[in-house]
Symmetry: C2
Subunit: 489 residues, 2 copies
C-alpha cells in the first residue's frame, strides 16, 4: 500500500513537471508565431505602402503631364500669335501679365508633381523595399537567436528533471536504507530482550555461545546498515541540494527569459524598423512640404501681379502703343483771306458794344452751366463710387469650401455659397447694370455739358483777352468792359 502511494507520488510529480514544460514550450512556439505574424504584418504594410506610392507616383505623373499639356497648349498659342511680339516687354498689359504668370505657375506645378513622382519612385519606394529586406533578414537572425535561447531554456529544464530524478532515487534509497536499519535495530532490541530473559532464566546455559554469536551478527548487520543509511542519506542530501540549486537556477533562467530576453528578442526584430520607416515618411513629407512651398512662392508671384492690375497704367500703355492714333492733331490756325492783315478779334467800335454784350451773356451762361454741370459731376462721382463698391466687393474668399466637417466629409459646393448662388448673382448683376446705365446717362449729360462749357469758355476767354487788350490800349479810361468785369468779380 505504501509502495503504491510512493510510485503514484513520483508519477504525479513527473506529470506535473511535464505539464509545466509543455506549457512553456507552447508559449515559446506561440512567441515565435507572434514575432512571425508581426513581421508579416510589417511586410504587408510595407508592400501596401510601396503599392500606394507606386500608384500615387503614377497619379502625380498623369497630373503633371496634364498640367504640362495645358500650359503648353496656351503657351504655344501665345508664341505663335503676332500679338505676342508686339505686346511683349514694355507693352505687357497687367491682365496679360497675370495670365502669363498663371501659365508659368501651371508649368511649375507640373514640374513639381513630376518631381514628386521621381521622389516616390526612386527614393520612397526604394527605401520601403530596403526596409522589407531588413524586416526579413532581422526576423531570420532574431529567430536564430530565439531558438538558441529556447534551447538553453530546455537544457536547463532537462537538467532540472535529471537532478530531480536523482534526488528521488537517492531519497528512495535513503528511505530503504533507513527501514533496513530500523529492522536491524528491532532485531537487536529483540535480542536484547532475550538477554534480559536470560538473566532471569539461567537454566538453559548450553545456549549462551550460540546466542552471543547471534548478537554479534545482529550488531554487525546493524552497523553495516547504519553505514549504508548514512551513505544514502548523504547522497540524498547532496542530490536534494543539487535539485534545489538547479531549481533556483532554472527559475532564474526562465524569469530572465520572460522578463528580459523576449523583450530583447523583439528589439532585435525591430532593429531600425521605426527609424527607417520614419525616414521614409519624412522623405515623403519633405517632398510634399517642398511642393507646397514651391506652389506658395508661385501663388505669391501671381498675387503680386493681381495686386498690380492697374487700369490707369494699362490705358497709358495702350495710348503709348498707338500714340499716333491718340496724339492730339495740330490746332486749326486762322487763315487770313486774301492778304487780310487783321488776324485777331477786332473789338473796335462799332462791334465793341456788341462784343461786350456777348461777353456778358457768355459769362452769365457759363456760370449757370458750370453750376449745373457740377451737380451732374457730383451725381456721377457718387454713382461711380457705388459702382466701385460693387466692383471691388470682397467676394472671393472660398475658405468655407475647404472646411472639412469631420462628421459628413462631404464637399460643400462653392456655387451654393452666398456670393455665387444664382439668385444672388442675378440680383447683383441687375443692380450693377442698372447703376451702370444710370452712370452712362449721367456721363453723357456731363460730357455734353462740359463740351458746351469748353466751347463757350474758349470764346469767353478770347473775348476777355481781346477786350482786356482793348482796354489796355485805352489805358486810364474806365471802359464799359471794366464796369462789366467789376460786376462779375
Amino acid at each position: 500500500m505504501s509502495s503504491q502511494t510512493k510510485f503514484k507520488k513520483d508519477k504525479e510529480i513527473i506529470a506535473e513537471y511535464e505539464a509545466q514544460i509543455k506549457e512553456i514550450r507552447t508559449q515559446l512556439v506561440e512567441q515565435f508565431k507572434c514575432l512571425e505574424q508581426q513581421s508579416e504584418s510589417r511586410l504587408q504594410l510595407l508592400q501596401d505602402l510601396q503599392e500606394f506610392f507606386r500608384r500615387k507616383a503614377e497619379i502625380e505623373l498623369e497630373y503633371s503631364r496634364s498640367l504640362e499639356k495645358l500650359a503648353e497648349r496656351f503657351s504655344s498659342k501665345i508664341r505663335s500669335s503676332r500679338e505676342h511680339q508686339f505686346k511683349k516687354d514694355q507693352y505687357l498689359l497687367s491682365p496679360v501679365n497675370c495670365w502669363y504668370l498663371v501659365l508659368h505657375q501651371t508649368r511649375r506645378e507640373s514640374r513639381d508633381h513630376a518631381t514628386l513622382n521621381d521622389i516616390f519612385m526612386n527614393n520612397v519606394i526604394v527605401r520601403l523595399s530596403q526596409i522589407s529586406e531588413d524586416v526579413i533578414r532581422l526576423f531570420k537572425k532574431s529567430k536564430e537567436i530565439g531558438l538558441q535561447m529556447h534551447e538553453e531554456l530546455l537544457k536547463v529544464t532537462n537538467e532540472l528533471y535529471t537532478v530531480m530524478k536523482t534526488y528521488h532515487m537517492y531519497h528512495a534509497e535513503s528511505i530503504s536504507a533507513e527501514s533496513k536499519l530500523k529492522e536491524a535495530e528491532k532485531q537487536e532490541e529483540k535480542q536484547f530482550n532475550k538477554s534480559g530473559d536470560l538473566s532471569m532464566n539461567l537454566l538453559r546455559h548450553e545456549d549462551r555461545p550460540q546466542r552471543r554469536s547471534s548478537v554479534k551478527k545482529i550488531e554487525k548487520m546493524k552497523e553495516k546498515r547504519q553505514a549504508k543509511y548514512s551513505e544514502n542519506k548523504l547522497k540524498c542530501t547532496k542530490a536534494r541540494n543539487d535539485y534545489l540549486l538547479n531549481l533556483a537556477a532554472t527559475n532564474a533562467a526562465i524569469s530572465k527569459y520572460y522578463i528580459h530576453d523576449v523583450s530583447d528578442l523583439i528589439d532585435c526584430c525591430d532593429l531600425g524598423f521605426h527609424a527607417s520607416l520614419a525616414r521614409t515618411f519624412r522623405t515623403y513629407l519633405s517632398a510634399e512640404y517642398n511642393l507646397e512651398t514651391s506652389r506658395h512662392e508661385g501663388l505669391d508671384v501671381i498675387e503680386n501681379a493681381v495686386d498690380n492690375l492697374d487700369s490707369r497704367s494699362d490705358k497709358h500703355t495702350v495710348m503709348d502703343m498707338c500714340n499716333q492714333v491718340f496724339c492730339p492733331p495740330l490746332k486749326f490756325e486762322f487763315q487770313p483771306h486774301m492778304g487780310d492783315e487783321v488776324c485777331q478779334v477786332s473789338a473796335q467800335q462799332p462791334v465793341q458794344t456788341e462784343l461786350l454784350m456777348r461777353y456778358h451773356q457768355l459769362q452769365s451762361r457759363l456760370a449757370t452751366l458750370k453750376i449745373e454741370n457740377e451737380e451732374v459731376r457730383k451725381t456721377l462721382d457718387a454713382t461711380m463710387q457705388t459702382l466701385q463698391d460693387m466692383l471691388t466687393v470682397e467676394d472671393f474668399d472660398v475658405s468655407d469650401a475647404f472646411q472639412h466637417s469631420r462628421s459628413t466629409e462631404s464637399v460643400k459646393s462653392a456655387a451654393s455659397e452666398t456670393y455665387m448662388s444664382k439668385i444672388n448673382i442675378a440680383k447683383r448683376r441687375a443692380n450693377q447694370q442698372e447703376t451702370e446705365m444710370f452712370y452712362f446717362t449721367k456721363f453723357k449729360e456731363y460730357v455734353n455739358g462740359s463740351n458746351l462749357i469748353t466751347k463757350l469758355q474758349a470764346k469767353h476767354d478770347l473775348l476777355k483777352q481781346t477786350l482786356g487788350e482793348g482796354e489796355r490800349a485805352e489805358c486810364g479810361t474806365t471802359s464799359l468792359f471794366n464796369i462789366i468785369l467789376c460786376a462779375f468779380l
Copy 2:
C-alpha cells in the same frame, strides 16, 4: 492775274482745312478700332482663361478621382481585413497609424481637388463669362458715347468751315467794295483835275452845268460806294470775329476731346474690368491657398504621427495584445519526495565544507564572468550607437529637387542626389549590414554570458542565504563561512 491768285488762295485754304479734318476723322476711326481691338483682346484673354480653367477643373477632377480611388482601394482592404477589428483603438501600432493618416490625407487631397474643380467650374468660369458680357456691353455703350463725341467734334468743325466761308465771302465783298470805292475816288480825282483845268481855261463856259451834274453824280456814287464798303467791312469784321471765336472754340473742343474725352472713353470701356478680373484671380488664389492650408494641416498631422513612431510603445502593445503568450509561467516548485521533510538546501556537515568551497568557486567565477560580459556589453552598446547613427541619419530632405533653376527648368532627379545614388545606397547598406552582423554576434555572446551569470548567480544567492542562515544558527562562533566571506568583501 490777281483774281486768279485770289481763287487759288481760297482753294488752298479749303484743301488744307479738309486735309486736317480728314486726318482727324481717320484718327477717330482708328481710335474706335483701337478700342475694339482692346476689347477683342480682352474677350480673347477671357475666353482663353475660361478654357484654361475649364480644362484645369477637369484635370483637378481627374486627379481627385484617382486619389479617391487610390485611398478607397486600401481603405476597403483595411476594412475587410479581420485584423482591422482587432488592431483598432488601443492596439493601433504607430506605423499603422501613420499609414492610416497617409490614406486620410489622400482622401483629404482628393476632396480638396474636387473642391478646386467645383470652384473653377461654378465660380471662376462664371465670373469670367460675366466679365466677357461686361466687356461687350461696355464697349457698345462706350462706342455709343464715342460716336456722340465724334459727331459733336464734326459739328464743331463744320461750324468752323461755315464761319470761315462766311468770313471769306464778306472779306471778298469787302475787297470788292473797297476797289469800287477806290475807282470812284479815282474818278472824283479825275473830275477834280478837270476842274483845275477849268479855272485855267474859262473859254468853254457853256460846258459848266453839264460838268457840275457829272461831279455830283461821281460824288453820289462815291458816297454810295463808301457806304457799301463800310457796310461790307463791318460784315467782314464780324465774320472774322466769329471765325476767330469759333476757331478758339473748335481748338478747345478738339483739345478737350484728345486730352480728356478719349481717356474718359477708354475708362468707360475699362469700367470694372480690372477690378472684376482681380476678384476672379483672387477667387482662384483663395482656392489654391486654401487647398495648400488644408494640405499643410494634413501633413502636420502625419508629421506628428511620424514623430510618435515608437518601437518601445509598439512592443508593449504587441505584448499586451498577446499577454498570455508573453506572461511568465509559474515557478517550478520544490517537489519533496515521499514525505521528505527537508525542503531547503542542507548546509550541515558533512556537506558544509563542500558547499562553502562551491560557494567560493561560484563567487570568483561570477566576478570574472561579470567583468567579461560587461566588456561585451560595452562593445554591444557602442555597436548599437553606430547602428542608431546609421539608422537615424537625416537623409530625407529633398528640397534640392524642388529648386527651379530659371535657366534650365529641368527636373533634377531625386535619385541622382548624393544620398539616394545607387552606389551610395549599396555602400551604406553594406556598411549597415556588416555592423548589424557584428551586433548580432556580440548580442549572442552577451546573451550566453548573461544566461550563465543568471544561473550561477541564482545558485550563489541561494548558497549565500543558506550558509548565512547556517551561520546565524551558529550565532557567535566564527564559522568558516564568515572567514571566506571576509576574504571576499
